[in-house]
């Protein structure tokens, strides 16, 4: 059996991820990266594979993290149930927002999602069970079906890794499926895809909802890892972060969003204690550099370089 170089890379990476907590890497830090990586991969389904720039993904991430936190604290639900219902909440939200937003495309789509995200933010700010500015604190991690306790950081870490691998494979499957090909066709030339008999709006709505579900799952997982849900998850800046992670790593590549989220989370952890508000400035500067100098992102540029080398 032939194993491609990409798959060897993924296997090595997975082994490293499994070993990382044993060589002294802080598991919470890794879990945060992985949660954001799931978030960015979900976002990449939109920006990378369907060409739609959404500013509303923080709403999914935040709302489902709130729902999960609320179910676990006030209602004492089981962990898998709270995770699933959290993702379900963002799915419903995604459907509602999608129905409105896909009425326009391109730049209008981006502006509409931004406005709807602000709507969700204000609703969250005022909703009584969301705890206003404080959010929901002290969320218990619970266990998986009474078998594995997640209270321990290490077992939580392996649970997060498993979820990530499943979602990563799922996204690859979607992109390579006929549905993924139709999305690509719509991105490249919407009228032509329509003339071939594909109802573009239905396909776009479907990927929008799918992306919202996965983004929501990422938010729910993050709540479980860190033990709280805050208003800042719903904020426009979180949408900005996920856009940056995807762009920096490479939109439309499988590994790009993962690399991007690792870089951005590491940067924030490293800098936030030392430089204060300059973190915002640095993130803004990375945006500018990405747009001006390498629009394909790190992984995208690397793949393009490989292509050039092969054809030369």
């Amino acid at each position: 059996m032939q194993i491609s170089r990409t798959n060897i890379f993924y296997i090595v990476l997975l082994l490293l991820a499994l070993l990382a907590p044993w060589v002294g890497v802080y598991p919470i830090f890794l879990m945060t990266i992985i949660c954001y990586a799931i978030f960015a991969c979900a976002f990449n389904l939109m920006l990378g594979y369907s060409g739609m720039l959404s500013f509303v993904h923080a709403a999914y991430f935040g709302v489902s993290s709130y729902v999960t936190a609320w179910l676990l604290t006030a209602n004492a639900w089981s962990t898998p149930g709270a995770l699933l219902v959290g993702a379900l909440a963002s799915t419903v939200l995604g459907l509602l927002i999608g129905l409105i937003a896909i009425r326009r495309s391109g730049i209008y789509f981006a502006m509409i999602t931004l406005a709807l995200a602000q709507l969700v933010y204000f609703v969250c700010l005022q909703a009584p069970f969301m705890g206003g500015e404080n959010g929901i604190q002290g969320v218990p991690r619970g266990d998986l079906f009474g078998l594995i306790s997640l209270t321990d950081d290490l077992s939580m870490y392996y649970f997060v890794v498993v979820v990530f691998v499943l979602i990563f494979l799922f996204i690859q499957r979607i992109v390579h499926s006929p549905f993924g090909q139709i999305l690509k066709a719509i991105r490249e030339n919407e009228p032509r895809a329509e003339s071939l008999g594909y109802f573009a709006d239905h396909q776009k709505l479907l990927v929008f909802v799918l992306s919202s579900t996965l983004a929501g799952l990422a938010g729910s997982l993050k709540t479980l890892v860190l033990g709280f849900a805050t208003l800042s998850d719903v904020l426009q800046s979180t949408s900005g972060e996920v856009i940056l992670m995807t762009m920096l790593g490479g939109a439309g590549t499988f590994f790009g969003p993962v690399l991007g989220s690792a870089i951005v989370v590491a940067l924030q952890n490293l800098l936030s204690d030392r430089v204060g508000s300059w973190v915002t400035v640095i993130i803004g500067a990375i945006f500018v550099i990405c747009v001006m100098a390498f629009r394909r992102g790190i992984v995208g540029e690397w793949l393009a370089y490989q292509d050039r080398k092969r054809s030369a």
Binding site: L53, I100, R103, R104, G106, I107, Y108, A110, M111, I112, L114, A115, L116, Q118, L119, F122, V123, Q126, Q236, G240, I243, M247, G276, S277, W278, V279, T280, V281, I283, G284, A285, I286, F287, V288, C290, V291, M292, R295
Partner: protein
Amino acid sequence: MTDIFGIPIQVILGQLLLGLVNGSFYAMLSLGLAVIFGLLGVVNFAHGAFYMLGAYATWVLLDVFGLGYWWALLLSPLAIGLIGIILERLFLRHLYKVDPLYGLLLTFGLSLIAEGVLREVFGSSGQTYPVPELLQGTMDVGFMNLPIYRVWVIVSSLTICFFTWYLIERTRLGATLRAATENPKLVQAFGINVPIIVMFTYAGGVALAALAGVLSAPVIQVSPLMGSSLVIVVFAVVVIGGMGSIMGSILSGVGLGIIEGFTKVLYPEASNIVVFLIMAIVLCWRPAGLFGKE
């Protein structure tokens, strides 16, 4: 005492006036956004940041240089317009041929930089700016006392909006501008320097945002965050009005400001979201916007 729905009429009129003030800002900002989008094809996310910079420039002019409001009215838009020119030359110019989403992302990054720098330099808390002496106090119009400064904001910004509309729709310069929007190559062939026109259009739109910032300095707290929430409302206004129409963006800006003011009286909890709700309804009913053409 006259009441409407059990609410004193003075309260309603007061909120209406506030709504008109906000509506004038919406109108000025969405106008600039529409003009820039028309010619450059760039959705200027940094519009809120320029509005904020305009207000800070006003505050700095007084605090550091001792130059008052009337100087700021002239100097702030000039300074911010100059920043706009520099940014257009350095960055935006290179993005006209790629997907417009990149222009949005670039200006998003620029506004993050502006916000972060100002938060670091001036702190997150707001600064207050005094109302200029000439415009202090209230005037009695029989049924209520009108704060003179608010009336000044409404009158002056609507005058500026109308002037801009006239410039673009009714003058020779405006005709050239519109022609350059339709077909830049052809206009260039007539010997008109289109890149320069584009540059000054961006500077003009940005200066309008800065001017709105100057006008707003005495009525709100000047803070690094004042632009980022406003720009989203203005985006919604532009989506409601339809991006192509200049008069449309002025009318929907003022109208939505008034609706927001009324909502504050009738159901305060919804005042933050009413514009977004209207946007959702308009999108379901007329996706191109009220004044837009598909």
